[in-house]
Symmetry: D3
Subunit: 322 residues, 6 copies
């Protein structure tokens, strides 16, 4: 069933979250801190059994200088620098197997699939630890480190996401002037954050992005992971204002106000995990002059699935070439 507002109202929907006064300063500090600790990325080619696609195991510096893993894939036989796509992963997963996610490289791009700190044990594997501490938390990462906005898990993750863009530009064979970002769900949130906070991203394709218009989303669904926040506040009843203040710094519907690159977002009207008012709120907040929202009326959180990927390929072909 439809899980949110009628589509006519979604098209007008904007978040009620106030932008924190120090939003830009907050993120400038985070990125400056992390970049000050960054070491150059390393890429080691691996034998995957594939002949048409080459694959490197990458390590780069993310939040607090911690080394984040990723897979870099590129078409075999490529000559000359390639445009690049950085992709982020959905909640619980990691960069996955070297045999997964071949489409972007098969389409001619250098494709960096960033691993997710401390996740990578749910539906796809990963290897990256999460070295920031944790306060009292609900199982999952939604409330990890929420005592301090500078230490909050998604501050760490979004810092990783931005530094992944730095890293791909520093890898050989990449044309750093042509970089796009993408991902679905949590990965879509990462793409919005990188689109807002990294320099000169040329295109952003966020499929059913999570973490947008959070205060509303967490009250209109019982599904995880938004519900982790509810579970936390159900016990820590005195921390509501603090928690909402931290979340405002990483809300995709707030950060989207900083996206000027061409933008593609998808939303699904039967999505109970990411109710569509979140993606619409992000879309409506973005000042991008070229932007498109793909609305899937009969889908849940799978959104447009391969059709969203095909649309992203079209966007990247137009904006980055290939």
């Amino acid at each position: 069933m439809f899980t949110d507002l009628p589509v006519e109202l979604l098209r007008e929907h904007r978040t009620a979250v106030q932008e924190p006064a120090d939003l830009d300063a907050f993120w400038s500090e985070r990125l400056a801190e992390a970049r000050a600790l960054a070491e150059p990325p390393e890429a080691t080619e691996v034998d995957t059994g594939l002949t048409a696609i080459r694959t490197w195991d990458v390590r780069f510096s993310g939040w607090d200088g911690q080394r984040i893993a990723g897979w870099l894939r590129a078409p075999a036989g490529a000559t000359g620098p390639l445009p690049a796509i950085v992709e982020y992963v959905g909640y619980g997963g990691g960069r996955g197997s070297a045999l997964d996610n071949l489409a972007f490289a098969a389409a001619g791009y250098a494709h960096l699939m960033m691993d997710t700190r401390g996740q990578g044990s749910g539906w796809s594997g990963g290897v990256t630890p999460d070295s920031g501490g944790t306060g009292p938390e609900v199982p999952g990462v939604m409330t990890r480190g929420i005592d301090d906005p500078a230490q909050y898990y998604y501050t760490r993750f979004f810092t990783d996401a931005v530094l992944a863009v730095d890293a791909v530009r520093a890898l050989p064979g990449v044309d750093g002037s042509r970089v796009g970002v993408t991902g679905g769900s949590q990965g879509g949130a990462g793409a919005l954050a990188a689109g807002a906070l990294a320099e000169d991203v040329r295109a952003v394709a966020a499929r059913v992005p999570f973490l947008c218009d959070i205060p509303r989303s967490m009250t209109i669904t019982d599904a995880r992971p938004f519900h982790e926040l509810v579970d936390y506040l159900a016990v820590h009843r005195d921390r509501v204002d603090h928690v909402l203040g931290v979340l405002a710094r990483i809300d995709g519907a707030v950060l989207a106000s900083r996206i000027t690159a061409p933008l593609q977002i998808s939303a699904a009207l039967m999505d109970a995990i990411v109710p569509p008012s979140g993606p619409f709120a992000a879309f409506n907040a973005a000042p991008s002059t070229r932007k498109e929202i793909l609305v899937h009326p009969y889908n849940g959180h799978e959104g447009g699935g391969p059709e969203d990927v095909a649309a992203a390929l079209r966007l990247f072909a137009a904006e980055l070439g290939r």
Copy 2:
């Protein structure tokens, strides 16, 4: 939790299903009938946006001469005939998007992903109708046409599966002497059937294969699709012997007695959809002299996931080259 016997007993487990006396005759007739009606396959190249992999939309003749769809993929720039892999799809799905399932082609094979008649509307799309009639049936295909073994849905599907091997051999650029078959779940059942019934298949890799040791499987799990059979027999209480007789003709643990090619099967000890005694029963029935079973103790029906695919790539590299 473990869903079946202890692994020591699984390693000895054999089905109690009796091989029908006319098993070979039954299938010879089916294949002869279908081949008599077969027209040559057609392959039309499509633009998928991928540059490293070429893709053709294929139609070939299956059961009753009906045209079955598929995707043929091959690495761009291949010269000379390629070894081929025919893959079958899990229950409910179809050949999927042209952007899915790129690994076998990226590994250097001609890869035919057969569409599934009358399914292709669940987790992945398809276009192939199922033109055989239906008697009274439970939603799903498990009881479709079960009044007549020659018309039963899985007789149709396995006939398609064998003729897909014929078809891939007839396509240009394929080395018909080097063909392997693979698939997971229902697709694994298809691979076992093709391995048993098609000529000169060189390797069979069946991940968590469905439809093996059916009379046992349907009594030790409540999960669909095996449960469709239970629902049917719960109403048609007088048809038990007839139904079990039909099923004996398509049971993977019976057909496996005809597999002599190198064989790889995976089984998962926490699989509630395909309890592992079925895959083990098929494995133990196969006379293949080179055979391997991959046991995943902590997995459900996802089995070994990408690790099973990697194992299949190793098998195909050894048996078919690339």
Copy 3:
């Protein structure tokens, strides 16, 4: 809980589905095609162990001339032609056991319980196959044959339903001028269709009728069988307009505009399978001058249960005699 609009709004609710321009032509063609192929009905008396009710196993010609089964029941010792009631069955079921559904015959009517093509394996048994082909489909019949409105499953079923009225009139001992139709859920949809499309039906009693105001219903519940349509469109995202166009031809809230006979509909305010806006939309669309809606505020899909049957008996007594 209440599953739909407040009852005051339900009383005003009308479907937003547009009547297809060719609605009457479409159905005239279907019925003409089927009647051209029709053979006379056959009725063979069976020994059920009952002494007060006689029972015949009936076969008559439905869509495409296919023979449809049914039970004809009549009170033992009846003399002279009886008024007749044709009843249709809910989703998944068939005509059931000869020992079920005795009330209408015990009330003095010739009662034809029509079997349902290709179902009859869920909660009650049946014997009638469904010989039309299937395209890619979701398990169940909601998307069977949906590529072509003339071949769509419910086009077939409604054609059967109308020809069942023809058939009962052709059976001995029936007064063909006094025929009513009834059924619950899918059977209620059949009754509405027969009331709209068969000639001179004298009374229509549809309990919690399914398949009314379909585009709305499928977005306000997650329950099957409406959800089969959602599952299909979730994969076949490009077929929305086509599918809605086919459904408009069989929507009970559209067809009801052709019902002029006395009409009784029931609706249940806590029905999550058939949300009550569908039955109300059908009711509000019918031009019948004598019509009654039975509203059950605290019931789910069982609706009024035996109270709806008792109300139907009162309607038939008034309109058909007994």
Copy 4:
């Protein structure tokens, strides 16, 4: 899935419950107490809209002299005394609508459908109160009055069941020498109890009878209503011996040792509400020389459904005539 022992072991299964030393004395007292308070039954004909079956609203004296309701049905136009069938109802239900359960009367019997004290608000309605008190109890009747075996709910209900046989013999038009008892689930338990405790019952047909081999049944299923006992003992941990002692007096696998009439029991191997070891234990305990067990391998608690009813009709035809 199968919910209990393999069928070979079920065929040998006997309860471990010890027969209470005072079993016969206990029940003799209960019945003597109740009969001492009994008033003659009353039967008032009602207009149901049915013409082939006549129906009377009956009141008779049960446990503690309380008046129990029922429907008496008989074929219209019957002349001469009829053999009679007393039927009991499943858990939660009551005697239901006057339009339900017509088969036995339509088959030529006087059919008394006994209402269930204090239930009749679940799946079918009833009107009979339960005037015995309650101690602390779990919702439902399984633990009602369990402090005292003479006051326990099922002592009351079984006393009602036996006195229903007395009552039907006292009604006009009934041949009291030809009485059978039947019912499904809780109603099957009632039939076993009446078969064990009433005089000269001529045939007993118990479909998937509940309340047999209770101590085992309550530990091998989590389904209600057996689970009510578990919930009670989970709180009243010190009452285990007392509770099991009370239950031994009403356990169908104990009472069956007193059944000498021809006996028919059905059991379903996938029944999670009444695991089949209970019905088998009752069957194996009965000294009847003519007994039959109907085993439904692929059914749940619906058991054989109408096929069990048909079998009961055959039993009654053979033993009672019609």
Copy 5:
């Protein structure tokens, strides 16, 4: 997710239930009848193993003179009469273990935890039987005795609740002029009833009180125990007006109009068992001049948990002293 109206509308929400014309007379009669039958309370000290808190097993006369159990607790070493708190228990539970619920006594009060008639077998134990009869009922107590408002279960329970206040005043060591009442869920309903109907209660603290604005509540949640009423009316479709008339006499949002003592109510916006419009309706109906509502936005039926208890302690300290 939020389970009810937006909080701004909740703050204005009032029940649509009409106060029965005879409300005061009804309750005066009930209390007069019960008090006429009352015997003095008895209290027997028990050894619980606790040294800081003394505990007595209490019996007092409730509805119809029946003896109701309770625990009286008081701090060891108390000298002089103590202010008292009477507490009622949530649905399914009883007075519990002597080791539970120590906070009020540890805070310096005489604390009477009233047992619940006929419950005490769910999440906490009890010993008190419920000796009123039952008509046809749904498992649970919501429909017990609903044929007669004077016999209805909650009439009995609320009568017990008021007489518990009488009883605590009659126990030694209690200062009868300083009595407060409290409880959560069903216990909160008991506290509202005692606050409305007992004389001179000095403070009322009702946590997420059940049984307020019942006709609305039962249509906006599917959760038990409100759903018991729906189940009953789904079968007894002709009893809606009668049942709603009985419930109006015990509805907390009606009775609250008689509460003049200082009042504290809590409500939880994600409560699916007691949707918050019920507690708000009670709050808004109360003429108390000092009243406070504690709103927990992210909690379900646990409400404020220990924070609600702490708030109650503050209320009682202010109103009763300690």
Copy 6:
């Protein structure tokens, strides 16, 4: 239903886990490392509104010197050093509210309720962070830090548990020669660990202890938190031996071999979260000469509830005095 072996076999059940050769050395090092970093505990009295029980907010040094919180409670007016009980909390919870868990203090003991690092946001609150890093993990703590046994979450937690015993001995008013440990579920695991690893613990009462015989437990239930391990190994298929090796160091059925103090364990035969073979394996491994197992046949994970607490009070009264 029973969730594990028959009770006769449970009484003989021993874990198949091999004791690691370095078990004592491993733990000696962990404790020595932590004690080397320990600072004295601090205790600050808080105003809880309770008059009979005094409460202090405690901080002490645990694993890696990190400060762990706790509540210390003692009866008001105590003179002279008190025997002490250290209690640990179940999975997801923290030390809870100051108003909870009053029984041990009310029974005359100094009662230290240790907070749980990084949890305290589920069913009861806490304030203690968990400052060790995390590798890729499944939501929850079961796989946190599992790359290194010295850093594994439960190594940290058990180190905290032992140092809590050190801490309580260092607090004023405590008789350090009379200390017992207790807890339920995860808290029971903590009690077993402290009983095995802390010096001179005088009594151990572990209610339904978690984390015993882990390799078996994780394969016979699908319930969390054991299932977190399965989820992890389902993705990290190559880490099985490593993970089982880490778990062997913290398995309660291994550590119990070091418990010589009087021991009380409870087990529940219907416990699906902690199947009873785990608690029995721990019980059977303990060399204590005075040990008792409380078996609750009809309980789930609540075990004996307040009856287990009462039994613990009896044990502590016998072993520690009061």
